[in-house]
């Protein structure tokens, strides 16, 4: 069996998961001895370090549209028909630089555009300097003045899940939602209609977060995981080969794995732990929620999400060029099962 210097990672079970191969199958004393030694050196703080490092690496990755490569990326993503007008492009290139300076971001990525009835939201994401913090999301209505959005919370998700319909394009617009609330008064329980006001800004935050979690993707091999858990940009990533690029299994969800832990050992047998540490698109539900197409005579592979119509991922096989952009109404396609 051909081994290599690739940082291999234990595919072990349960508690041992994430331990280097060398630690497996050894007596508890040996393991604890090593851990103590490492812990003394401040190197082993398993879960936490892994999470932080994931964020660190993910945020540094080559995904989404970097402000510098914006023009090329827009050209590659133009097959979906949604681009930016020249004045928007120019103002983005200018204002994102200033955003980078003013907010002291390491990098600023252009994320996409949410079409509103009155105006469109232009979304950018900033990566802060310490690289450990989650991405900061900014929006702008005119591509020049950017406002920071708060981070998404569970509460926001629940609150905004009742809103449907289009975005207005006015962050202070308030959606009204009447809901029945049970009120307990003196032992009597009765229901009362309560009108809940939901700000569009809150909805915007929640939608962006949902889209990022559901359909942000990267090609396999663009990132790799070192034995200790940190995830790095794979500098030797030269793009997928053409045959790989046509398979959904070559693309990963750009988020903490959810499905991976539920896989059986048999399914995991073929996985390369240093590369396959995220969920692949292969088993997305419903089946067929991605449209994968070769464009420009196989020179470009384009993935379009059918669940969140408007998200276009592009990758030129055998090059490092890849990224995604969202231009859409910010609505999930819940009719998808009927449409396939």
């Amino acid at each position: 069996m051909g081994a290599s210097v690739r940082p291999s990672f234990s595919e072990g079970l349960g508690g041992e998961q994430g331990w280097p191969k060398a630690l497996r199958g050894r007596g508890p004393q040996a393991v604890s001895g090593i851990l103590t030694a490492l812990g003394r050196a401040g190197l082993w703080s398993p879960r936490r370090q892994l999470l932080l490092a994931t964020w660190q690496a993910l945020s540094r990755a080559l995904v989404t549209m970097d402000a510098e490569s914006l023009l090329l990326s827009l050209e590659l993503a133009s097959g979906s028909g949604q681009g930016l007008s020249p004045d928007r492009r120019a103002s983005l290139l200018t204002s994102l630089l200033l955003v980078k300076r003013d907010y002291r971001y390491d990098r600023v990525l252009f994320w996409g555009r949410i079409l509103g009835l009155v105006a469109d939201y232009y979304i950018a994401q900033g990566l802060s300097e310490d690289q450990l913090a989650p991405r900061k999301t900014l929006y702008s209505l005119n591509c020049m003045e950017w406002s920071l959005l708060p981070p998404a919370t569970e509460e926001m998700m629940a609150q905004t899940s009742v809103v449907k319909g289009r975005f207005m394009g006015d962050p202070s617009h308030e959606y009204e939602h009447t809901e029945l609330q049970k009120i307990n008064e003196g032992g009597k329980v009765f229901e009362e209609e309560v009108v809940v006001q939901i700000k569009e800004e809150t909805r915007l935050v929640s939608i962006i977060d949902q889209i990022d979690k559901a359909v942000a993707i990267i090609p396999r091999g663009a990132l790799f995981k070192t034995p200790f858990g940190p995830i790095h940009v794979n500098r030797t990533f030269e793009g997928l080969s053409l045959s790989e690029a046509k398979k959904l299994s070559s693309y990963f969800h750009f988020r903490e794995p959810v499905q991976l832990k539920n896989k059986t050992l048999l399914e995991k047998a073929d996985l390369d732990p240093s590369l396959d540490f995220m969920d692949s698109l292969e088993h997305d539900i419903p089946k067929g929620s991605w449209s994968i197409q070769m464009e420009r005579g196989n020179a470009l592979v384009v993935l379009r999400s059918l669940l969140w119509p408007g998200l276009t991922f592009f990758h030129a096989p055998r090059t490092k060029n890849c990224g995604y952009i969202y231009v859409g109404t910010g609505e999930k396609n819940i009719d998808l099962p009927f449409m396939l």
Binding site: S4, R6, S8, D87, G221, Q293, G297
Partner: protein, 720 residues
């Protein structure tokens, strides 16, 4: 010889890596620990080469003598004095081989490997000694014609490190990790002996060690180190023996690094994977060559063709101002494809309608109008189906067993609109990619539009794909595509007010409905509308494609009228209406042509259109952009004088609510329920007597009126 040996050598090269790997995992962050781990493979290889060769004692003094630096033993004194090296060394190689490879090394292979495998080591040596700035390396080189000697020297070079390992507790710990459990003791012993046996190291050795330590420093990012990388690279070079290796050393380095992420199993590569690329390039080449192929004598045709060909690039420019549209490159290819279309078909007018995204492929849609008299008629599929229905009903009549007959009368199919009218005003051509053949879509039938409104399916990109849906769609994807195109056109094709006017020759009396005209022409006196007015008021935009009625036609077709004239039995209703009143069908009236879009209906409080100026920075040259909210992806622009409509999207209508497939119709009645089937109570005696009295009274009256005799008889039967 090389062929047979190379895989094995590769194995030998890889194994140390594998062995070294766990080290890196554990000590990824501590660079110090790594040196020890990484010198391991070298030691191992060394062992392999030297193992089968019986070494004679006289050689070792000789080789030791070849290091002229014995007297520089400054720090080396810290190492414990050692017994003679050779005695302990000879057993160690087999032991190493057993531990790490667990494969007996065939002697014939070793001999074949040795000459070549010796070379990289020599390289290492040279390299490290160069750093040490010592003359020793030159000595080796001059004497280096014998491999044994160089190998021997290496033992000496590595010797002190072995001592190092054993001296530090930390490293010993790692040894434990490195090894399998059972071989632990064995290993330590083997190592300890040569280490102890080593004489005090020289200054050169220290320098070499520190240089090597530096090279073996693990990258904090990738977990690799330069030392291993260089040795891998050299091994690769020697394996493959490329020509002019020095010129491609960068890519070899890159290859080696990428090799870490490549599965070794994937030896089968699809060599033909580039074929489709060439295929489409070849097809598109034809597009670029078509201009040259035409002779100058065809000027007349060219003239017509040019008239038909729209200026796609100009429209694309304006749409780009609006932030919509395909890339310039793709647009140009579509432009060329349209040129090909207009050149090969008798086309009066052509327009780039838009692009419909599909799951596997996309559709590029061209809207064309044939020249007069050049229409190519479609096969009337409708007639075929009707005939089949008739045949079925005749068969039923002949059936003697009197099977229960269905009372369901299929509503008469609404006839499709003639070419050049209504929903079939234009002909549509589609192709998947510029360069691929254009395919003409069949004309649309009302039933298809009606069903298309009830379903929501993604396009696949294959025209012959079946549409599996409920309610069943009459036709395949090409029909569905055509129906959606008709719906989108009817809903979203708009023009500035006044650009078109009604044709004067079309008399109103020709149409049955007052105010309904389906023909318009360009207004030669159109002076343009201020862009700002177009943005601010929707009433400055008008629909120039007829509204499609719920019947599925643009011009209402009265089914009743026809039924009276032609077939009396088959009176039927429109599909939309419940149809219990066969003698009266309300005529459907849609908004007339050139109705301002300000009268469009809202979609649950969502305005149907969004207007804006393409640029707020330079408004004086901006264009007005109209975006449909009902058909996401439909756009229109106007700069006051010109306008264009464009669609790019999935071909679905917007609805804020979930799609709900229509409910199944109620179960059809199997037979007519009548008196003879209805259960009722037996009459009581009183009732019978009363009934008889009534009968007798009736008989009396019947005597007066003879016509009622038959009734009497029937009544008698009933009474029995």
């Amino acid at each position: 010889m090389e062929d047979s040996t190379s895989p094995k050598r590769e194995k030998a090269n890889q194994d140390p890596r594998e062995a070294g790997q766990p080290w890196e995992e554990v000590t990824a962050a501590s660079s110090q620990g790594l040196e020890s781990g990484l010198s391991e493979p070298l030691e191992l290889e060394q062992g392999l080469e030297t193992g089968p060769q019986p070494r004679s004692p006289p050689q070792s003094p000789q080789s030791r003598a070849s290091i002229p630096l014995d007297d520089l033993t400054g720090p080396g004194a810290s190492y414990p004095p050692s017994p003679p090296q050779e005695a302990s060394y000879t057993p160690s190689p087999p032991a190493l081989a057993r531990q790490d490879l667990a494969v007996p090394w065939p002697s014939d292979k070793t001999t074949s490997v040795n000459p070549e495998a010796g070379t990289p080591h020599f390289h290492h040596l040279e390299q490290s000694s160069d750093k040490g700035e010592s003359t020793a390396s030159h000595t080796f080189q001059s004497e280096g014609s014998t491999f044994r000697q160089s190998q021997q020297t290496k033992h000496h070079l590595y010797g002190p490190e072995d001592v190092n390992y054993n001296n530090s507790k930390q490293k010993e710990l790692r040894f434990n990790i490195f090894q399998d459990e059972d071989s632990n003791s064995n290993y330590d012993l083997d190592y300890a002996e040569p280490g102890v046996s080593e004489l005090a190291p020289s200054m050169l050795e220290i320098t070499i060690q520190s240089a090597k330590a530096y090279l073996q420093k693990t990258s904090s990012k990738s977990g690799l180190n330069l030392y291993d990388h260089l040795s891998d690279m050299l091994a690769k070079v020697l394996d493959e023996r490329p020509e002019n290796a020095v010129d491609i050393i960068e890519s070899i380095s890159q290859d080696v690094k990428m090799g870490h992420f490549r599965k070794k199993l994937d030896t089968l590569q699809n060599e033909n994977e580039m074929l489709p690329t060439y295929e489409i390039a070849e097809k598109q080449r034809a597009l670029f060559l078509q201009g040259n192929l035409e002779g100058a004598d065809q000027e007349l045709e060219d003239e017509i063709a040019e008239n038909a060909l729209p200026n796609v690039m100009e429209s694309a420019f304006y749409f780009e101002q609006a932030g919509v549209g395909l890339g310039t490159d793709e647009t140009y290819r579509i432009f060329l494809a349209l040129k090909q279309l207009t050149d090969t078909h008798p086309i009066q007018r052509c327009r780039f309608w838009g692009k419909i995204l599909g799951l596997e492929m996309n559709y590029i849609v061209a809207e064309v109008e044939f020249r007069e008299g050049e229409d190519e008629e479609d096969v009337e599929e409708e007639d075929v189906t009707e005939e089949r229905d008739d045949a079925d009903s005749e068969a039923d009549e002949d059936d003697e067993d009197q099977l229960p007959r269905t009372f369901y009368k299929t509503p008469q199919a609404i006839p499709k609109e003639e070419n050049r009218t209504g929903a079939n005003k234009y002909v549509y051509f589609v192709c998947n990619e510029p360069g691929r053949p254009w395919v003409k879509l069949p004309s649309v039938m009302p039933a298809q539009i009606v069903t298309a409104r009830k379903i929501k399916k993604f396009f696949t990109g294959r025209l012959d794909a079946p549409i599996i849906s409920y309610p069943p769609f009459p036709g395949n994807e090409s029909n569905y595509l055509r129906a959606q195109i008709a719906r989108i056109s009817a809903g979203t094709h708009v023009s500035p007010l006044g650009f078109y006017q009604f044709g004067e020759e079309e008399g109103e009396e020709e149409e049955e409905v007052e105010g309904r005209r389906d023909s318009f022409e360009e207004n030669p006196d159109f002076e343009g509308i201020q862009v700002i007015d177009l943005v601010e008021s929707l009433s400055n935009w008008v629909h120039h494609v007829q509204h499609i009625l719920s019947q599925g036609r643009c011009n209402w077709f009265n089914p009743i009228q026809k039924s009276e004239e032609e077939e009396e039995e088959e009176d039927e209703e429109k599909e939309e209406e419940k149809g219990e009143e066969p003698d009266y069908t309300e005529q459907e009236v849609g908004p007339p042509l050139l109705t301002p879009i300000s009268e469009d209906l809202e979609i649950q409080n969502i305005p149907p259109w969004t207007t804006r100026l393409s640029s707020n920075l330079i408004p004086q040259y901006a264009v007005a952009v109209l975006r449909s909210n009902l058909w996401p992806g439909a756009y229109a622009f106007s700069n006051g004088k010109k306008f264009e409509n464009f669609y790019i999207g999935w071909g679905h209508k917007y609805s804020p609510d979930n799609y709900t497939p229509p409910a199944l119709p109620p179960v059809y009645q199997e037979y007519p329920s009548g008196a003879e089937l209805t259960e009722m109570d037996d009459p009581t005696v009183e009732e019978e007597q009363a009934f008889r009295a009534a009968q007798e009274a009736a008989v009396l009256s019947a005597e007066e009126n003879e016509e009622t005799e038959e009734d009497e008889e029937e009544d008698d039967y009933d009474q029995e």
